[in-house]
């Protein structure tokens, strides 16, 4: 559905994307994790052709690329980008915004009432956007994406300003959209939330994808121990830690259990329980842990 080939872009001396390659298919949610200023928005802007890359290409649906305006319009029929809250028309109602997106992409606003219901916007959607709170505006932006209902959706900071209930609501909607075969890119700072619905999370660093975490495949299991740097150093001096271990964010020691025999695994767990009993868990590394690994 989407193929990014050899994308590079730099601003003055700063390389933002460096020969980046990536493919994604329909029915996937791809999380994009990276700190601010590391190229998430630039990547989305390049995919939508709001920014021209220095090199590389974007191929959509196996045939469309930004060769001319006609193809750009064809791509934009298949792709929407998440509107920014500040760009909403203050004098227009939420319904007017939704009707615009629904009619521009689907030629009809039939689905709009159902979307309003689904996102629990009925009590405010007819008022002007200037009266909305941050959370209301964010829900409206998300509802606009739902109204457009395109195959590819690029959602930058989709959970901004949402409370826990609304985060759960939007997460549900994202999962439902995935089931309907949408390809959705989500850049969000709510990393744990990404684990709930994303199929993959990519980590961008220095213009490259440094790690791709796949939730749909078997993942390595780690013994995770909360330990401060002093404790970690002391542990290193006492015992030889397995070669695949990682120490994340100067607080989390992760010992890979895959590849170890059952007695070895038991020995490690017992050993760690003895020293750090209350701070020990077993499981795969989550998005938060990988994030800390690459960016802390």
């Amino acid at each position: 559905m989407l193929k990014l080939s050899d994308l590079s872009i730099s601003y003055q001396d700063k390389i933002v994307l460096d020969h980046l390659n990536f493919t994604a298919d329909k029915g996937e949610i791809i999380g994009v994790a990276a700190p601010n200023g590391t190229g998430k928005t630039t990547l989305f802007n390049i995919i939508a052709n709001y920014t021209k890359p220095d090199s590389g290409s974007v191929l959509i649906d196996g045939k469309y690329t930004y060769r001319n305006e006609k193809e750009e319009v064809l791509i934009h029929k298949l792709l929407t980008t998440f509107p920014e809250q500040k760009d909403l028309f203050e004098e227009l109602s939420g319904t007017a915004h939704l009707n615009l997106y629904a009619s521009m992409w689907n030629g009809s606003s039939k689905r709009v009432p159902a979307i309003i219901d689904k996102l629990q916007m009925t009590h405010y959607v007819k008022k002007k956007a200037k009266t909305y709170s941050l959370g209301m505006r964010q829900r409206l932006c998300f509802a606009m994406m739902m109204a457009a209902d395109t195959t590819v959706m690029l959602m930058d900071e989709v959970m901004n300003g949402l409370d826990v209930t609304n985060v759960a609501l939007i997460s549900d909607c994202l999962s439902e959209m995935k089931r309907k075969g949408k390809l959705i890119f989500v850049a969000s700072h709510l990393l744990e939330n990404l684990d709930l619905y994303a199929d993959r999370v990519i980590f961008l660093k220095e213009g490259k994808i440094v790690h791709e975490q796949r939730f749909t495949e078997d993942r390595d299991i780690y013994l995770k121990i909360e330990v401060n740097p002093v404790g970690y150093k002391s542990l290193q001096s006492k015992i030889e830690l397995p070669s695949g271990h990682v120490y994340i964010g100067e607080h989390l020691l992760c010992i890979p259990l895959d590849g170890l025999t059952l007695p070895e695994q038991t020995r490690w767990i017992e050993q760690m329980l003895g020293q750090f009993g209350h701070n020990l868990t077993v499981g795969p590394l989550g998005t938060v842990e990988y994030y800390e690994k690459y960016y802390s």
Binding site: E69, E72, L92, L100
Partner: protein, 382 residues
């Protein structure tokens, strides 16, 4: 999709308070300007003929006595005598509308005699009292029109039919251009201010531009039509409708022709339409460079003023004459041709220039859009 886009743009336009204010200004101009226009001292046909008759005292006084001794001199003197007689008869005919035909017949004869004098070199006549060929042709055009269409030769200058073309001539040129440019400032405003909402819409740039230009053009003409309508009704209630078949002089290709008021007003509106279209397209193009609609308005107004500024400074600006033709009232009346000493400045050429420049600007926009997808423009710098 495009229709939905047009509907949305129309909705945005209806929300635009600035344009409503400018629209009210356009609409109110027509009744308000009448307050000034009705105080104007407009020379009536009686006044004109009285002045012409009085001039003959001086013409005869200044005619050299020695010339009368020659055959040629005597012929000129006889010609002048006949002219004076015809003018006095015309003054008499003006008292009675039933004598319109006689007035016209004498008028045509009078101007034939004036042309004869021109052919004879206007010898013996003081230069101050020579009626120019241009004036002769203007008067003949009007007389022939009266003769052909049997309309009143003494129109009331303050009736609606005479007021509307005059009001359009006044608002035309720079004031109208400025209004169009200010109304047009909203065209790209929300594309810039609401970028992330608008930029991904599946509509091509040119479709967007044509939709925006079309809607704004429609709005300008709605304001103009309402203004003309309200202005006409207001004047009609005060002084009457007049006759929209009465003649107005139109300059074309070095000559003057009399056309009906309706014809003249339609030409004015056609010119307004083309000027508006051109200015809206140019403003989009200039805005692509300045990225600021107010800088765009300032640049275009400066460009429109340039021919007059250069002319005042004594610098040859003949290559900028198409811009001076924006003052369409002056072009239609022939004043622009006289001011810039160019027979080229007539309405046909003006309309052709406006249409041609609009096409050229659209071609530039088209090429610019096309080039954005070539490697030349898609290189770093974005």
């Amino acid at each position: 999709m495009r229709w939905n886009y047009i509907l949305f743009e129309t909705k945005m336009l209806l929300h635009n308070r600035k344009n409503w204010l400018l629209g009210i200004a356009i609409i109110l101009f027509f009744p308000i300007y009448y307050l000034q226009y009705s105080q104007t001292d407009i020379e009536t046909l009686q006044d004109q003929k009285n002045v012409e008759a009085e001039q003959f005292h001086s013409i005869f006084k200044a005619f050299p006595e020695e010339m009368r001794a020659t055959k040629e001199g005597q012929e000129i003197y006889d010609n002048l005598t006949e002219q004076a007689s015809l003018i006095n008869m015309q003054r008499f005919y003006l008292w009675d509308e039933a004598e319109n035909d006689s007035y016209i017949a004498d008028g045509l004869l009078l101007n034939e005699l004036r042309l004869e004098l021109h052919e004879a070199g206007n010898k013996g006549i003081h230069p101050n009292y020579i009626v120019t060929k241009q004036e002769i042709h203007k008067e003949m055009a009007l007389l022939n029109y009266y003769k052909k269409y049997n309309v009143s030769i003494i129109p009331d200058p303050f009736v609606a039919s005479n007021y509307i073309p005059a009001a359009l001539d006044t608002i035309g040129g720079l004031p109208f251009s400025l209004l169009v440019l200010l109304i047009g400032t909203s065209m790209l405003l929300h594309d810039q201010q609401n970028r992330s909402v608008m930029s991904g819409l599946p509509v091509s740039f040119l479709q967007k531009i044509f939709s925006k230009v079309g809607i704004h053009l429609g709005q300008i003409f709605v304001f103009l039509t309402i203004g003309i309508g309200i202005g006409s009704v207001y004047v009609a209630l005060k002084t009457g409708w007049g006759s929209f078949t009465s003649p107005v002089l139109l300059y074309s290709d070095g000559n003057f022709y009399a056309v009906s008021t309706v014809h003249y007003v339609l030409l004015q509106l056609l010119a307004f339409l083309l000027i508006s279209f051109l200015l809206l397209v140019v403003s989009i193009l200039v805005n692509e460079l300045t990225k600021n609609m107010y800088a765009t308005v300032f640049s275009i107004v400066f460009l429109l003023l340039l021919p007059s500024l250069l002319l005042s400074a004594g610098i040859d600006a003949s290559w900028l004459l198409p811009l001076a033709m924006i003052d369409i009232g002056a072009v239609l009346s022939g004043n622009a041709a006289i001011r810039f000493e160019s027979a080229f400045m007539d309405y046909q050429r003006a309309l052709s220039w406006f249409a041609g420049l609009s096409l050229a600007m659209m071609a530039v926009l088209y090429m610019k859009t096309k080039l954005q997808y070539t490697s030349l423009l898609s290189a770093p710098g974005k």
